[in-house]
Every structure is written in structure tokens, then in C-alpha cells.
């Protein structure tokens, strides 16, 4: 290469060589001149960029920390701040046939192989069905709510088409617990329970960052459901209902309706009922039997009648004996389930749950007064509670005949919800003030004023009488030692098209504790309990509903700050001599 220019240089002479050198120098300079600004420009741009970072700061993130931590829907907690409903980034298993982007088969393995591997991770998946869905080539969910370890296992299959998007899901850590109170969420909208009631608050951008506390106590709710479930299964009952109510504030501390549903996975059969339920015309699992279903609650109404009579001054002396023989009125005969002797006084009538004496007391009291008492206890209107499911009571109307007054006095011919009964019992024992029940947490000092239904001393008398029922009467199996339980059983036959059905009962136990200073009302109800070995082949409340309360109160008492104390009790010494020992 080098020899050629030398040859030409020799041929053209020294001037030409100098010229040529100058020319190439010029070209080189021109090139450098052009390149240098280009490099300079790049450097300036880079410097400007650095300067802009330095001067203006890092580019703003699209959302602030607060915004990113704000849940899409507010959390619901119990009264102590434990979560009942929250949002959760759950993995979903999404089949995306377009993930491979090569136009070929969407899966690396055959659909059958992938289905087999998926079925190994999720035993409940139907292999044939999954294989068919994978082969169809349509994008779809294969499963929702995967656990993190399951998501890892799916990832290890190594199929790009199996995607695992993290989705914001409404999640209920306690599963089916308190399902009727909470309700559920579908497509961002709340249904049934507090999810529906608080929908505006839970979705409001300003408020949803703060959890909404409701009045339930998660531990008490758990204990109530556990005991109700055990009681229900032991006597083959169709359903069960229970409520724990604060007598001074009206707060519902626990509310359970069984059978329940899982709000994490609401099935159509939960809402419209299974085939079996529809065939037997039974309510579906989402049906709230505490606030919506009305029942004739039977003998649990007797204390209300007696309290009304004491309050009106009709019953002044509790030692007065009433005729306890069957009552003949309007062509019908009202009798007791078993004879308790010819005469009974009021404490004895309550202890042994006498229909005849209660009917005679009510007859003396008069329909108008009994009606007014029941009306001021709110038994003629839908129960006061935030839930949308509120049942309309079957109210016997404005003018009560003699027979109506008598039957209503022991809880027949009037049908109310168990929640009605709980609120009425709260008024019975708390000094006579009726307050609406609420599922919202009541801060101390802000409770509703309520309305006076009974006098203070009537309420004190009722505390004695209800305690006596639990000590000497049908409520003995509910008398948890040290908790000073008082209450009344009720076993009502269910009405049907052909009169009352002798073997279909609704067994209720309405209790309050501790009776010397009542704090909580507890209602336990069983729908159609059967006579089993667990209940000594009995169907009445003393054998199935009362034991539930007897087991429940020692569990929930310490949680609710009620200490058992064997050295305290209601003073019943003035009434004790009135009870004949022979029928004790």
C-alpha cells in the first residue's frame, strides 16, 4: 500500500505532493469540525438532563404513598379492631393463550399434561374439564384466590400461558363467621349485610382509609356460632339463631344465623336455596333468621306479660294464687302442657311455665294494656337494626279479643324475630328502658336515650323472677355457676296449614347475665330440634336451647369483662318462700 503514493509522488513532483497533503489535512479538519459539535451537543444534552434531574428532582410518581396504600374498599373490623373484611391481593390463575406470541400452540406441553399437573396442585379441579378448557384456546380464569405457595407451584410448571395476576379481592379472614352481618361484595358493590349498609362509606375516597368498626366482638361471635352449631347438630335441628346484645347500649355483640354461607365464595344456591331447600320450602343459607324470620316464640313472652301486669299494678302481691285449671274461652280450651296443681302463684307460674295462669293474669290486665306494652317494646314493627333484612312481625291488630290477649300473653298468635325478643328482654332487665338494637359501635356516653317501658322496680322484680326460673325452673341447665344467669325457656309449636304441628317446635332460651347488674342478653333459638340422646329424647327448650346458653356464657363472660363470682347473686330471699317445695 505504501509504495503506491511514493511512486505517484515521484512521478508528479514535490509541489503536487505538498498540495495533496494540504488537501487531506483540510478534509480531516473539516471532518473533525463537523464531529466535534455533534459530540458537544450530546454532552450538553446529557449535562442538561443531569441538571434537570438535579434541579427539578426525580420525576413524580403517578401516585403518592397515601394513594397507593388506600384500599379500594374500606376495611370492616370488629369492636376491638380485628379485621372482619378486608382487601387482599390474591393470585388468580388466568389462562392466556396469546402469551406465547409465536402463533403456534398456546401451551408447551399438551393440555392433558398441564391439566394433570394443575390437578396435582389443586385436588378439587376436574382434570378432564381443565384439559378441555385449555384445549379450547379461549382466555379464561381457571381458578381464583391461590395461596402464594400454590402460585409458586403453578409457576414451576413452566407454562407462559398460565398467568398469575394479583387481583384485589374482598376477603373475609373468618370465613363463614358473621356472614349474615357482613354480607358480601360482588363487582365492587356490597350486598346483604353491613357491606351493603356501609357501601357509601366503604367506597368514599376520604373515609375508606380508616377501618369501619362494627359492634360485633369477633371472639364472642366465634363462641356463639360454635356453641349454636354444636347444639344444632346434637339435636338435628334444621337451623339455629343466636344473638348477644348489650342491654345498656343496644349494641349487638354477636349475631348468628345457621346454616350460614361463605362470603368468600358465594354460590347461587346460597342465595336462592339448594334444590332440597326449595323442595321443602325452606329458606336459603343467606337468609337471616335473627332479623328477618318471624317466629311465635312461645313462653319467652310470659315474662313480658307478667312485667306488664306488675307495672300496671294488676299483680301487686306475688303470693296471690291463681287458678291453674284449663281456661275455657271463646269455644277453645287453653291448658298447660302438664298439670301443675290447681293453683299457682306468679313466681311458680313462671318457673313452671304455666300458660293458664299467664292467660288469667293477662285477662285481668286487659288487652289494651298488654298491647301498649308490646307496642312500646317495638314488637309491632320491623326490628331496629341497620341490616336490610328486617322481618315484619305478625301483629294481631289494633283490637284484641279476650282469646287473643290470652294467647299473646304466652307467645302465640304473635310472631316476631329473635332480635325483637332480645331488645324486649334488654328493656325487661336493664331498668325498663327500651333501646333500638344497633350494629354500629356505640362510643361510651353516646348511647341512644331510649324510651321507658317499665318502671325501675318492675325491672328489679323481673330480674328476681328470671333468676328464679334459672335456679328452680326450666332454665336450670343454663345456670352457669357464678354468672348469675336468669332467663326463660320457650317451646312453641310451629303453625302449618292444618293447625299447630306437635312435633315441629321452635325452642328458644332468652337469658340475661349477670342478673344482679345485667350487662348482656343472650338469645339461643333452635328451629325444629329433634329428640336425640343428647337431649334425653326431649324437644323442648329446657333440653336443647338452655344448655347452649349454659355453655356459652362461661365462654363469653370473661371476654366481655363479666367475672364469675359465686359470692354474689340477686337477692331472691323475699320470693323464695313463695315456691312450694313439692313441685320444685
Amino acid at each position: 500500500m505504501a509504495s503506491i503514493p511514493i511512486d505517484s509522488m515521484v512521478a508528479a513532483g514535490p509541489l503536487r505532493v505538498a498540495n495533496k497533503r494540504l488537501e487531506s489535512l483540510l478534509v480531516a479538519r473539516m471532518r473533525a469540525l463537523l464531529l466535534m459539535p455533534a459530540f458537544g451537543l450530546i454532552a450538553v444534552v446529557a449535562l442538561l438532563r443531569i441538571a434537570s434531574f438535579g434541579v427539578l428532582g426525580a420525576p413524580d410518581t403517578p401516585m403518592s404513598m397515601e394513594q397507593r396504600l388506600l384500599p379500594p374498599r374500606g376495611e370492616i373490623t370488629d369492636r376491638n379492631g380485628l379485621p372482619l373484611a378486608r382487601n387482599y391481593d390474591a393470585f388468580a390463575l388466568w389462562f392466556n393463550p396469546a402469551a406465547m406470541k409465536d402463533g403456534g400452540s398456546p401451551l408447551v406441553h399438551t393440555p392433558a399434561e398441564v391439566a394433570a399437573k394443575l390437578a396435582a396442585i389443586f385436588p378439587e379441579l376436574d382434570r378432564a374439564d381443565v384439559a378441555e378448557r385449555l384445549a379450547s384456546g379461549k382466555a379464561q380464569y381457571l381458578r381464583r384466590r391461590l395461596l402464594p405457595e400454590e402460585a409458586n407451584q403453578v409457576f414451576e410448571i413452566g407454562e407462559p400461558a398460565l398467568e398469575l395476576p394479583a387481583e384485589k379481592e374482598r376477603f373475609y379472614p373468618q370465613g363463614s363467621m358473621a356472614a349474615h352481618v357482613l354480607g358480601y361484595v360482588k363487582d365492587g358493590k356490597g350486598y346483604l349485610g353491613m357491606e351493603a349498609v356501609l357501601d357509601d362509606r366503604l367506597t368514599d375516597e376520604r373515609l375508606r382509609g380508616q377501618p369501619s368498626a362494627i359492634s360485633l366482638d369477633l371472639r364472642v361471635q366465634g363462641a356463639l356460632e360454635d356453641e349454636l352449631r354444636k347444639g344444632m347438630l346434637s339435636v338435628n335441628a334444621r337451623g339455629a339463631a343466636g344473638v348477644v346484645l348489650d342491654v345498656d347500649t343496644g349494641e349487638v355483640v354477636a349475631l348468628a344465623s345457621l346454616p350460614a354461607f361463605d362470603p368468600n365464595d358465594v354460590k347461587p344456591t346460597d342465595l336462592i336455596g339448594t334444590k332440597e331447600q326449595r323442595r321443602l320450602k325452606q329458606p336459603s343459607n343467606s337468609f337471616n333468621s335473627v332479623t328477618y324470620q318471624v317466629y311465635e316464640l312461645g313462653s319467652t313472652f310470659k315474662p313480658i306479660t307478667i312485667a306488664s301486669a306488675i307495672d300496671a299494678g294488676v299483680v301487686r302481691d306475688l303470693g296471690v294464687r291463681y287458678d291453674a285449671k284449663p281456661v275455657k274461652v271463646a269455644g277453645r280450651t287453653l291448658a298447660d302442657s302438664h298439670s301443675l296443681g290447681d293453683t299457682l302463684n306468679v313466681p311458680e307460674a313462671l318457673i313452671h311455665s304455666s300458660n293458664t295462669v299467664t292467660a288469667r293474669v293477662a285477662d285481668k290486665l286487659g288487652g289494651d294494656k298488654l298491647r301498649d306494652t308490646m307496642r312500646s317494646l317495638g314488637l309491632d314493627e320491623r326490628p331496629y337494626i341497620e341490616l336490610p333484612a328486617r322481618g315484619q312481625p305478625l301483629w294481631p291488630g289494633e283490637h284484641w279479643s279476650r282469646i287473643t290477649t290470652m294467647t299473646v300473653s304466652y307467645g302465640h298468635g304473635i310472631a316476631v324475630t329473635p332480635l325483637h325478643l332480645a331488645s324486649a328482654y334488654a328493656a325487661l332487665v336493664n331498668g325498663g328502658i327500651w333501646r333500638p338494637a344497633t350494629l354500629l359501635k356505640v362510643e361510651p356516653g353516646t348511647e341512644v336515650k331510649g324510651r321507658r317501658v317499665f318502671k325501675e322496680d318492675t325491672s328489679a322484680r323481673m330480674r328476681q323472677l328470671l333468676r328464679m326460673v334459672a335456679v328452680y325452673g326450666t332454665g336450670r341447665s343454663a345456670d352457669a355457676p357464678g354468672y348469675r344467669v336468669g332467663g326463660k325457656t320457650g317451646s312453641a309449636e310451629k303453625p302449618s296449614a292444618h293447625g299447630y304441628r306437635k312435633k315441629s317446635l321452635v325452642s328458644t332460651f332468652a337469658a340475661a347475665f349477670p342478673m344482679d347488674d345485667p350487662r348482656y342478653v343472650v338469645i339461643a333459638m333452635l328451629d325444629e330440634p329433634q329428640g336425640t340422646t343428647a337431649s334425653s329424647y326431649q324437644r323442648t327448650a329446657a333440653w336443647n336451647a338452655a344448655p347452649i346458653v349454659g355453655k356459652l356464657i362461661p365462654r363469653i363472660g370473661p371476654m366481655l369483662d363479666v367475672r364469675p363470682d359465686l359470692s354474689r347473686d340477686v337477692d331472691i330471699s323475699d320470693l323464695r318462700p313463695l315456691i312450694r317445695s313439692d313441685i320444685e
Binding site: L56, Q174, R219, G222
Partner: protein, 155 residues
């Protein structure tokens, strides 16, 4: 004159240059801290979400129904009876009975020495102290000691 004015100009230029450089340095520093804050915030968000997820998982695995089932199958705990509760310290103290004549010696627990537990100071030089029986005088044990021993003994 011209020289002075030139010097002054250069002085001003240097002044402005230094101030500008300082300003730029500060701005850069501020924005560096800012971006660190943004990064920390992102980390907080990630950790908060992780915390929520773990808390939720814990709540789910230890839900009331699960605990009741475990208790029914594994532990069989029952709710405490009324006689297992103590209302006051007085009630607790009532459990301590006076020692019987033939009971073994109570278990003593170590405790910090109080000033009154130390023997009275004896000077080796003081002659008159030697006149005693040789044992240093002990200050009487506090009267409360007896009650304490009775409570702590497990006989």
C-alpha cells in the same frame, strides 16, 4: 483605575460563580434526598402490602372456627370455672395459711440486700468494740419478712 475595575469585575464574577456553584450543589443534594424519600416510600408501600398479606394469612389460618376445631380435637380446653377467678389480692392472700408445726422449712428466694440487712459497721481500731462477744450486731430483720416467707413457701 482600569486595573482596579478589572480586578473588581473578576472578584464579582468569582463571587457569583462560587454562589452559583454552591446553589447548584445544594439543589442537587436536596433532590438526591428527595429521590431517596420516594424510594423509601415505595419500599414502605411494598412492605405495608406484605404485612397486610401476612397478617391476613395469619388471621385466616387462625380463624375462630379453626381454633374451636383444634381445641375440640387436640387440646380440649374448657372455659375457666368461677372458682378459678380471683377478685382481689386479699383473696389471693387468703390462700396462704400459717405454717404448721412440722412443716418443712419454707423455700427462700434470693433478694437484693437492703441497707438494714448489712451488719453494723465495726471499726477494727476501736478498742471498746472488742470487748463484745466478737459477733457483729445484727439489725433485726424487718417484720414483713415473715409474711413474705409464708406467702412464698410451697409447703
Amino acid at each position: 483605575m482600569v486595573r482596579g475595575s478589572r480586578l473588581r469585575q473578576i472578584g464579582w464574577a468569582i463571587c457569583i460563580g462560587v454562589v452559583f456553584a454552591g446553589f447548584m450543589l445544594l439543589t442537587f443534594r436536596v433532590n438526591a434526598v428527595k429521590s431517596e424519600v420516594v424510594r423509601a416510600e415505595r419500599e414502605i408501600v411494598v412492605l405495608e402490602r406484605e404485612k397486610l398479606a401476612m397478617e391476613t394469612e395469619f388471621e385466616t389460618r387462625a380463624n375462630q372456627q379453626q381454633l374451636a376445631d383444634w381445641n375440640a380435637i387436640e387440646f380440649g380446653y374448657a372455659s375457666p370455672r368461677a372458682d378459678q377467678f380471683l377478685e382481689t389480692e386479699r383473696q389471693l392472700a387468703s390462700f396462704s395459711a400459717p405454717r404448721a408445726a412440722d412443716s418443712p422449712p419454707p423455700i427462700r428466694f434470693a433478694r437484693e440486700m437492703e441497707a438494714s440487712d448489712y451488719p453494723a459497721l465495726v471499726s477494727p481500731l476501736a478498742e471498746h468494740d472488742k470487748a463484745g462477744d466478737g459477733e457483729p450486731d445484727k439489725v433485726a430483720a424487718p417484720a414483713q419478712g415473715e409474711a413474705r416467707i409464708a406467702l412464698a413457701s410451697f409447703d
